[in-house]
Amino acid sequence: MFTFTPEDEKQIEKIVGKYPVKRSALLPLLTLVQRRDGYISPEAMKAIGGKLELSPAYVQSVMSFYTMYHTHPTGKYIILFCHNISCQLNGADDLLAYTSKKLGIDVGGTTKDKKFTLHREECLAACSGGPMMRVNDVFHENLTTAKIDKILDSLA
C-alpha cells in the first residue's frame, strides 16, 4: 500500500501552491516520491494522479517520457556516467567500462548489495570538466581511474 506521510503532505501542499494549475506539480511530485522510495510504483502513480486529478495512465505517460524516473527499485547511489562527445573525446568510454567492471555490473544494472546503479548518460552539462559522472546529486569532473576509485570507495 502506498501512502503519503504527513511530511509529504506538507511538501505537496507547498509544491502545488507554486502553480496556478495543479497538473504542473506532476514532475515535482514524481520526484518527491522517487527521492523518498527510490522508484515510482504503479500505486504511487495512482496516488499522485489522485492528488492532481489526473488519470493513472496520464501519469504513467508523462513519467515514461523522462529518463530520470525509475519504475523499479534502484541502488542507494545512482551513477549517471556521461558518454557524450566532450567526455567521449577524453576517454569516457574506457572509464565507464572501468566503472562497470569495478562494480561488477552491466550498464543499467544495480549491484547485489543495492548500493550502486550505473547508467550511461547523455551530456550532463559538465563538458569542459569531462570525463564526468553524477553520483546522486553530486557532479564529479575530470575523472581518472584513481579518482573514480576514491569517489566510489568513499561512499558508505
Binding site: P42, E53, L54, S55, A57, Y58, Q60, S61, S64, F65
Partner: protein, 804 residues
C-alpha cells in the same frame, strides 16, 4: 464581392474561396486536390506530427504542414511541386521504415490510409535494410480491441481521441522517441464506454476489432447505412455483413447526431441478433405448451380475440403496452389498431409520467454546443445516452459552454460542471418548483425537503439568469410522481426570462422515446400531442389487470415482469389476464406468460424511422435479411382483419407517408427528406395544464429511499453473459451515504440485503455519497438482479437495508 469572413487562395493554380480559419488540407478538398494525411483528423484538430501533408506555400521558407496551416489571404499553395513530391516520398519512407509489409493479412487492407497514400504518393521501393523495430504484434488492448504495436505509426490519433473526445486519458503514449508506444495504465484493459472508435480512426491496421479480425475482407462486405437502436441518441452507423451474417459495426459520421462517434454498446453489443433466446416463430399456447403457428394466422387470431373481448367487456378492457424500442411505423400502426380500430385509449410505453411537447424550443444536439449554459436535470448521459455525454464534454471543454447539474445522484459529468447540486431522492418535484420560484420571484425552497442549500439554489438561479442561451437537458424517466409538470413549468419560467434564448432536450434513455410519444403511445394523447380522453397508463393497466377489470393486453417489445416496478405483483397481474399477447424479438420473462406470441424482427432486420431526443427523424435501414415478416406487416394484418377500411402498405415508407399525413409535426418527413442526415420534425405543441401540487413524499417508519440507476452495460436480453462486453458487467452494488452507513454499521464491501414488497436484492456496499443521506442508489446491473421488484411504482419507493 468581398466578405470579411472569406479568404481567397490558389492551390495548384486553381483559385478557391473558403471561410477564414479553414485549414489548407480542408481548403484543398474544395478544389478536388487531395493532400495525404495520417495524424490529421477533423474531430481531433490540427496536430502536425506525421508530416505527411507537407506542401509548398509561396513566400514561406520551409514546406509547411497543410493540416496545421490556416488559409491566409492570397496564399499560393503547391501540393505537387518537385520539392513536395520529394518530401512526401521521404516521409512515407520514414513511415514505412519500421512498419511491417503484411497488407495481405492485415484487417485494414483495402481501407488503409497508409496503403492508399503509399500507392498514390510513395516511391514504391524501400531502402531500409535493417531489421525492423521489434514491437509487439497482436496483443489484446481490451476484450474487444486488438493492438498490433508493430503496425503503429505513432500518429497519436487514438491517444488524442482518449484525451480530447472521451476526456478520459485512458489510452496514452508511453516512452519517447522510437520507443513510444500506445498503452493503457499498466496494460489494464482499455475499457471506456466509447473505446471502439479508435478502431475507425486508426489510419493503419494497428487497432483492430477483435471480433472482426480475419473474418472477412472489407471489400467483400455488404454495408448498410443504418442507425443504432440502443439509446435515444440514434447514432448513425454502418452495418457490415457477409452472407447475411453481421460482421462489424462502424461509425457513419453525422455531425447533427453523433459527431462521428458511436459507443461500444452500438459497436459490440449486437450478439442479441443471433441469440439463442430470439423469438423467431409465432405460437399459441395450448394447455401450457407452445404450438408453432403461421405469423399471419396468429395475427388474425390476435385481432379476433381482442375484438371479441371488446365486444363482450367494452374497449376499456383491452390495452396496449408498447415500448420505446419500436420504430415510428410500428408504433403508429399499433396506435391505430388500438385507438381507431379497437376504440380504446389504454396505450402506454413507460412507467413514468410524461407529456408530449415543450413550452420552449425543442433543441437538438448542435444546440448543446452553441448554448452558453447546459442545465442537466436528472440525467446521467454517460450511462444513459453516451454520445450525448461526449457532446456535452465537447461543449464544456472545447466550446466554453458552462454546465450546471441538478440531479439526485452524482454522475461522471459532475467534474465538468460549473455547479452541481444534489437534491434528495424523491424531492425532484420540490427542487424543480423551488428553482422555478427562485427564477420567477426569488426564494430558495425548503432545504430540509429539497436537500439543496439556499446558497446553492441562489448560484444556480444566477447561473441560469446569466446564460444568454440555455439548453436544458432532462431525463423524464428519472422523475418521480407528477414532477414532470414541475419540470415543464420550470421550462416555461426559463422561457420567460428576458433576453434568454432557450430550449430543451427531453433526454429519456430509450431509443425512440420521443417517437413513441409523438406516435401517441400514451393514455392521454393521440399522435402529435393531440389530447385524447384519458385511458389507462401502463401502471394503471397492471393495476386493472390485477383487479380483473382489464382482460387483455398486447405487449410490444416490453418486458414488464423485469422492467416494471412491482416484480412479483406484475407477474401475478399478467397471469390474471384472459389474453396476453407478446410481440417481441426475445424470449422474456413476460413472453413466458403469453397466450399468443408474435415474433418481432428488431434492429438489424427491421426498417423504419425513429425520432431521437433532439427531435431528428432518421431512417433505420435493414442490414440483414430474414424470412420473417416485418412487424408492420403483422400489425397491418391485424388492422385489416378488423377494419372496414383496409390499409395497403407495400413498404415501410408507405406507413411513413401516412404518418406524415396524419401526425402533426411529421408533415415534412418522407423518404427523400430524411435520406441523408435525417430531418427534424416540427415540434409537437405542448399542452400547458395547471401545475399540480408537489406530492408529499410519504415517509416510511424505517428504511431508505431507493433510486435505481441506469447502467449502459447491463446483463439483460440485449447483452448476454457471452457478450464481448461482459467485462463491463458489474456485480450488484448499493451506494450508501457515509452518514447512513455509519448508522447502519456498514463498511465498504459489506454484503447488504435490500428488501421491500416481499422482494429481496443482495448487493455489495459502496460508501460513496453518490446521493444525499436517507437514500440508496442501486445501479441496475442485470435482469436477474431483480432490483425493480423492490420498487413500488408511482412516486418514491422505500427499502429496508440490512447486513447480509
Amino acid at each position: 464581392m468581398s466578405d470579411d469572413n472569406q479568404v481567397n487562395i490558389t492551390i495548384n493554380d486553381q483559385p478557391v474561396t473558403v471561410p477564414k480559419g479553414t485549414l489548407l488540407v480542408d481548403a484543398a478538398k474544395e478544389v478536388g486536390v487531395e493532400i495525404p494525411v495520417f495524424c490529421y483528423h477533423e474531430k481531433l484538430g490540427p496536430f502536425g506530427c506525421c508530416r505527411m501533408c507537407l506542401v509548398e506555400v509561396e513566400k514561406m521558407p520551409k514546406l509547411t504542414t497543410a493540416c496545421t496551416q490556416t488559409v491566409m489571404p492570397d496564399m499560393v499553395v503547391r501540393t505537387e511541386s518537385p520539392k513536395v513530391v520529394k518530401a512526401q516520398q521521404g516521409v512515407l519512407e520514414f513511415t514505412l521504415l519500421n512498419h511491417p509489409l503484411d497488407c495481405p493479412v492485415c484487417d485494414k487492407g483495402g481501407e488503409c490510409p497508409l496503403q492508399d497514400n503509399t500507392f498514390k504518393f510513395g516511391s514504391g521501393t524501400t531502402r531500409m535494410e535493417f531489421d525492423r523495430a521489434d514491437n509487439d504484434k497482436v496483443t489484446p488492448l481490451s476484450p474487444v480491441i486488438t493492438i498490433d504495436r508493430e503496425r503503429c505509426i505513432a500518429c497519436q490519433r487514438c491517444t488524442r481521441y482518449s484525451d480530447i473526445i472521451e476526456q478520459e486519458q485512458a489510452l496514452v503514449m508511453l516512452n519517447r522517441g522510437f520507443k513510444n508506444e500506445v498503452h493503457t495504465f499498466c496494460d489494464e484493459p482499455y475499457a471506456t464506454r466509447y473505446s471502439g472508435n479508435v478502431i475507425d480512426i486508426c489510419p493503419v491496421g494497428a487497432l483492430t476489432n477483435t471480433e472482426f479480425r480475419f473474418k472477412a475482407r472489407s471489400w467483400n462486405l455488404d454495408n448498410a447505412e443504418t442507425l443504432c437502436a440502443h439509446c435515444g441518441c440514434n447514432c448513425n452507423m454502418t452495418l457490415g455483413s457477409r452472407t447475411n451474417k453481421l460482421m462489424r459495426i462502424q461509425t457513419r459520421p453525422n455531425d447533427l447526431v453523433d459527431d462521428g462517434w458511436i459507443c461500444d454498446k452500438a459497436r459490440f453489443g449486437y450478439d442479441f441478433i443471433e441469440s439463442e433466446d430470439r423469438l423467431l416463430e409465432a405460437g399459441t399456447v395450448v394447455g401450457g405448451a407452445r404450438k408453432k403457428v403461421n405469423a399471419l394466422d396468429a395475427a388474425v387470431q390476435v385481432a379476433d380475440s381482442l375484438s371479441k373481448i371488446v365486444d363482450e367487456y367494452g374497449p376499456e378492457s383491452v390495452g396496449f403496452l408498447g415500448s420505446a424500442y419500436g420504430t415510428n411505423e410500428e408504433l403508429y400502426l399499433y396506435q391505430k389498431l388500438f385507438r381507431s380500430v379497437l376504440g380504446t385509449n389504454n396505450l402506454d410505453h413507460k412507467t413514468y409520467q410524461d407529456t408530449p411537447g415543450l413550452p420552449i424550443d425543442h433543441y437538438d444536439f448542435l444546440n448543446v454546443e452553441t448554448a452558453n449554459l447546459v442545465l442537466l436535470i436528472g440525467s446521467d448521459p454517460a450511462e444513459e445516452l453516451p454520445i450525448l455525454d461526449l457532446r456535452i464534454k465537447k461543449a464544456v471543454t472545447r466550446r466554453g459552454v458552462k454546465l450546471a447539474i441538478l440531479n439526485d445522484q452524482k454522475t461522471a459529468l459532475d467534474k465538468f460542471a460549473e455547479l452541481s447540486s444534489t437534491y434528495n431522492v424523491g424531492a425532484d418535484g420540490a427542487a424543480l418548483s423551488a428553482l422555478a420560484n427562485g427564477l420567477a420571484e426569488g426564494g430558495a425552497g425548503d432545504e430540509s425537503v429539497t436537500g439543496i442549500s439556499a446558497e446553492q439554489m441562489k448560484s444556480l438561479v444566477e447561473l441560469i439568469r446569466s446564460g444568454k442561451k440555455v439548453c436544458v437537458v432532462y431525463n423524464p424517466a428519472s422523475l418521480t410522481g407528477n414532477s414532470i409538470h414541475m419540470l415543464k413549468h420550470l421550462l416555461s419560467v426559463i422561457g420567460k426570462i428576458p433576453d434568454i434564448e432557450c430550449g430543451a432536450i427531453p433526454a429519456a434513455p430509450s431509443t425512440n422515446a420521443v417517437g413513441a410519444m409523438d406516435m401517441g403511445i400514451l393514455p392521454d394523447f393521440s399522435p402529435g400531442g393531440t389530447p385524447a380522453d384519458k385511458g389507462l397508463s401502463a401502471m394503471e393497466m397492471i393495476d386493472k389487470a390485477e383487479s380483473g377489470e382489464l382482460k387483455a393486453l398486447l405487449m410490444y417489445r416490453s418486458n414488464p415482469v423485469v422492467d416494471f416496478p412491482g416484480g412479483k405483483r406484475v407477474e401475478a397481474a399478467l397471469k390474471n389476464l384472459n389474453l396476453l399477447v407478446v410481440h417481441d424479438m426475445m424470449e422474456t420473462e413476460t413472453s413466458q406468460l403469453a397466450h399468443i406470441i408474435l415474433p418481432s424482427n428488431g434492429p438489424g432486420y427491421d426498417e423504419g424511422t425513429t425520432t431521437n431526443i433532439g427531435g431528428r427523424v432518421q431512417y433505420r435501414r435493414r442490414g440483414l435479411n430474414t424470412k420473417n415478416l416485418p412487424d408492420w406487416k403483422i400489425v397491418s394484418k391485424m388492422i385489416n382483419s378488423l377494419s372496414e377500411e383496409p390499409v395497403e402498405y407495400i413498404t415501410s415508407f408507405n406507413v411513413t407517408e401516412e404518418i406524415s399525413e396524419k401526425v402533426p409535426g411529421y408533415g415534412e418527413i418522407n423518404k427523400k427528406s430524411i435520406r441523408k442526415e435525417g430531418k427534424t420534425r416540427e415540434p409537437v405543441t405542448s399542452v400547458n395544464g395547471s401545475v399540480p401540487q408537489v406530492e408529499k413524499v410519504n415517509s416510511a417508519d424505517q428504511g431508505l429511499k431507493l433510486r435505481v440507476a441506469t447502467r449502459l452495460f447491463t446483463r439483460d436480453k440485449i447483452l448476454s453473459t457471452s457478450s464481448p462486453l461482459a467485462h463491463h458487467f458489474l456485480p450488484s452494488t448499493v451506494n450508501v451515504h457515509a452518514d447512513d452507513a455509519a448508522k447502519l454499521g456498514f463498511s465498504e464491501g459489506d454484503e447488504a440485503v435490500l428488501s421491500a414488497n416481499g422482494a429481496e436484492v443482495r448487493a455489495k456496499v459502496e460508501i460513496s455519497n453518490r446521493c444525499n443521506p436517507g437514500a440508496v442508489i442501486v445501479p441496475m446491473v442485470a435482469d436477474d438482479q431483480g432490483v425493480q421488484g423492490l420498487a413500488g411504482g408511482g412516486s418514491v419507493s422505500w427499502v429496508e437495508v440490512k447486513k447480509g
